[in-house]
Amino acid sequence: MREPSFEKIDYTLRPNKNVQRKLVVEMLSRVGRSPRFKLANYRYVGLGSIWFADFILMHRHLGITDLDSIEREATRERRMEFNRPFSCVTVWIGPTSDVIPTLDWNKPTVVWLDYDDPLRKYMFDDFEAVLRRLHSGDVLIATVNANVDQIRDVKEEEVPLDPDTALRQVCGDENVPIDVAPDLNPKRFPFVVGKIFANALVTTTARSHTDLQFVPLLNITYKDTTRMVTCGGMVVDDSDRGELKASGVEDLEYFAGRGQFEISVPHLTHKERLEFNKLLPCAAPPDPSKLPFELKPKEIESYWKFYLQYPVYQELQH
């Protein structure tokens, strides 16, 4: 059944992406509870575009004062510069493959490659380029479009490829689980993407460093207009592995070790939000009958969990 049009929100208002961003920052904050990982001393590398939403959060909530944004569109250079939110944000123009080798990697770093694209080979090249340069305590996160249509009806020079082959063509034979074909449908594909990324990140780290391993911390899926998956974790040596555990990050409900976590907050009107908030907080997600408007149980549960992170949009009277 097609979604009614009022549930198709203006793409600039993406509450699920917004909540996801806050969870990522919350996770980093939890890691930062360990005296070993002083987040404020970290450098942040991301793909800010002209909105820099993640950059603003990193500076404001984690106190990071060294931020690098990579933008591949050369024609947007002035717009990027103009929109830099703070003096401590530097903009670099060029594809990630060109810029990554030129950055200084001798500082503790959080990298978030928030890609707009569906799965592409260059992403796996980027993982290798970054992981090779990371040190113990550094964090790498990646976000990708996980809509299953991207591997359906793929043609290699006008010859149709079967989805399993198309997926291996892009991600590499080593990263795609065996017998993945039954999972290549809209419901299961996000799990597959999460698994492929985790495989690539863990394998690449083990091959690039004799003393470091990749510990997955994030495996989140969400959808505003398009299904997305965010995977990430920390590169650690044996000593930092213990420090990471001691920070309590594994207690978080969305810790990757518990499986893929879905954020599915509903798109609520201002009035609906206020009404729902009257019931919160409460011990368990409210029964649908308690609300004077229809919401799916999944949406109720998600809002009950994340009502404090839910973005409030107000038009600025300028």
Partner: protein
Amino acid sequence: MPEEQATTETAQGNPSKGFFIAMLTRDISLSDCILDLLDNCVDGINRKVRTNGAMTDTNNKYSGFWVTVKFDPNTFSISDNCGGISLDAAKNYAFRFGKPEDVIQDPGQPIGLYGIGMKRAMFKMGKAIKVVSSTGEDSFELDLVVDDWRKQPEADWTFKLSNVRRNATDVEVGTTISITELHPSVGREFGTPGFSISSTRAIKRDYAFILQHGLIVKVNDKAVHGTMPTFRESGEVAPLRVRRSEGEVEVEITGGLSASPPEDDSPEHRFPEAESYGWYVVCNDRVVVTADRTNVTGWGVGSVPAWHPQFYGFLGVAHFRSSKPQLLPWRTTKRDVDPSNELYKKALVIMCEAAKTFTDYTNRRKTELKKARGLESAAPVKPISAVGFSNVMKLPAVARTTMRRISYEKPATEVEAVARALRLRSVSAKEVGIRTFDYFVEREVEK
């Protein structure tokens, strides 16, 4: 004063265990180590089946037998019910390095039985090795601490067998090899998802013929299912498939189109499943050579061109079968073809002809690319067992025109602008080149 007599003396020449281990384990990958160990299991099955005298149904001849492989960053183990190692074999040749000079070759045994596969895998992986084996009649254990073994006197290359039982044992039939104290790089590799996936894919491909006969192989508790080579077969497209025999060896050669060859053969372009194309040489169901593109299988020899990305999509299988394994064209390592084998030389002639037919076609088809691709992809994909016998490889008929390749570079922004002007759905530099050329020919060149 009498002259000093010239005398003879002796110089030491015996190998050091350390050097030997280093050389033995040098050029083998962990994935191939696992395949070597699996080979030993299959040899065990064949031995057992022969001793029992039972003429089993050939389609399910490995049914009832299983192998379980497990690995993680700290341990490796392979366990099977494939007959076990007899005490006699254990004492006299299973743990020697290479085929002993004085062992009488049992004509029923495959070449290279108890060659170096097992020792190579063990030493490659770790420093503490335990082997438990039973044939139902005999059983024994071997506990090897490599560093202690190396400290034995130089001339002493023996291993101690313990818990030896003869003529009756309650230890279950089969063999288990467990390795701990893994070398750091090995342990790390075992822990990567990439290794787990790629080693399983190698088994799926190289053991496809064996798995289809009923052997159950599990890797970290997941059963492995073989992927058989496939060919496209229709009225217009069909592989060559012929059978020849000489004496007690039979060979079946199948070669042809498995997938449409690429248009983009540039180095950056990755053809789907590229590493699976080429020649497979199989001996009694064991894949000896995988996706070979070297002169061993005729590429670059005589009129057959050397392998080129343009030939991706070609698949060939040369399957040799015999009840006398020593007549088959494999070397003792079972991972190499013996090119001096007479039947192999004859098979090679057929293989080269097939390769040449295919490579010629990949050049010809460029004149009518769309038509060729259409016919190729319309042909259904069939596993090798379902392909019909044919003395000729069938490929789509295309017009014979001499073609010339035009290749040049232009600024990306200009190319994109031209693509937009041509109303192309996506920017294909190649399409831009072809369409602008055709545009000029149509308007400016007299026919």
